[in-house]
């Protein structure tokens, strides 16, 4: 899933400055699961912004709603009646795909992103998430004992480790595991370490971002 985190409150306050009536829109997709932009987080942000206004003696109307998904026109279209109420600013608490969809569908609205997308990953524990994919478009995890060197190695090395690996940690940060250390450990345990003796050829990055924005068309699904 996409792991996102809320922007600093001052940045969000800057977005809504001068608006007495705002709408905060959550998303029930990834950002609900990673506790950054679901119904609960919408409620908390709305409350904080109202308290901020109250503190200065002002009144802010911060309405709340949460869409099934903001990255799907089907759900965004159904949102139109809500916007008819007229808002000075619309804060999207989806990953940054949400505000793009809202802005495209409702060009007259001032739509702002309340979250930053951080990475694609999963939960390590409740409240802890880590990057696990870089969407390179040519998955190779099966070659490395189920570990992804593209997203988890700072250099995306396919023939690692580099000289910066020390005691299982990456030189970039002492808190980051060297994925190549993990790959070697896991392949040694599985008895497949010999597979690493053959150097991997250069990776074709055209399927990654290097080929520009990507798009998938599934003709059998297109109506």
């Amino acid at each position: 899933m996409i792991i996102a985190s809320r922007k600093p409150i001052d940045e969000i306050k800057g977005f809504i400055a001068g608006s007495g009536r705002i709408l905060i829109v959550g998303c029930r997709g990834c950002v609900t699961v990673c506790n950054s932009g679901g119904a609960k987080e919408v409620e908390i942000l709305a409350s904080l912004l109202r308290l901020d206004a109250m503190k200065g003696g002002a009144k802010l109307t911060a309405d709340e709603c949460t869409l099934e998904r903001q990255c799907d026109p089907e759900y965004v279209d159904g949102f139109a009646p809500r916007l008819a109420e007229g808002y000075g600013a619309v804060l999207s608490m989806a990953c940054p795909i949400g505000p793009q969809y809202l802005a495209e569908r409702f060009p007259s609205e001032k739509v702002y992103p309340a979250l930053n997308a951080c990475f694609m990953g999963g939960a390590l524990a409740h409240g802890v998430w880590a990057e696990r994919c870089q969407a390179c478009g040519d998955c190779v995890v099966h070659l490395f004992a189920g570990l992804c060197p593209v997203s988890r190695c700072a250099k995306s090395l396919l023939n690692g480790p580099c000289g910066g690996s020390a005691e299982g940690k990456c030189e970039v940060s002492g808190e980051t595991d060297c994925v190549w250390h993990l790959i070697v450990e896991r392949m040694e345990a599985a008895g497949t370490i010999g597979e690493l003796a053959t150097p991997r050829p250069l990776k074709d990055w055209r399927t990654s971002r290097d080929g520009g924005p990507r798009k998938i068309v599934r003709e059998e699904l297109v109506r």
Binding site: E43, I44, L48, M54, K55, G57, A58
Partner: protein, 157 residues
């Protein structure tokens, strides 16, 4: 006294006539603080009448949004009172509540609301006097901080 640097300007005067009586909401765990409040009552201990108790099955039920809604709704301060650490009926509800309160303090500070307006306390069911002491201590702290954000936004009178 709050442990935090003040982030709100102090209100020069309470909005209504007479001395400012803060409105405090206390989320009390049924296994400890709520029973301690009962005991404080049985012992005829004095504590501020402006502390309004909300019974929760465990402070693990306490959430930032509950405190925020209370502050928005006119409370001047909010606290959660749970079991002593290690004695939670649900193992770690009180530890989770403490983490939530710590996070909430940061959130409040980010919008200029004094983080001292929320607090987490731990006590056992047998600590009636401690319950009364907490109520007095927190109420005193809030009285010193002055009216909360919701009271400030109301027109005087």
């Amino acid at each position: 006294m709050p442990d935090h640097p003040p982030t709100e300007p102090r209100s020069p005067a309470p909005p209504g006539p007479g001395p400012f009586e803060p409105r405090v909401i206390a989320f009390c765990c049924q296994y400890c603080a709520y029973s301690a409040a009962d005991m404080a009552g049985s012992m005829r201990l004095q504590y501020p009448s402006n502390v309004e108790i909300v019974l929760v099955p465990c402070t693990g039920r306490f959430d930032a949004i509950l405190a925020l809604k209370a502050l928005e709704g006119g409370a001047d301060g909010v606290y959660a009172a749970g079991c002593l650490e290690g004695s939670c009926h649900f193992l770690d509800g009180n530890v989770r509540a403490r983490k939530r309160v710590t996070h909430l303090k940061k959130e409040l500070e980010s919008v200029g609301v004094d983080p001292g307006r929320v607090e987490m306390y731990n006590l056992s069911a047998s600590q009636g006097p401690r319950f009364a002491e907490i109520a007095r201590e927190f109420s005193g702290r809030i009285a010193e901080l002055g009216p909360g954000p919701a009271s400030r936004s109301k027109p005087p009178g």
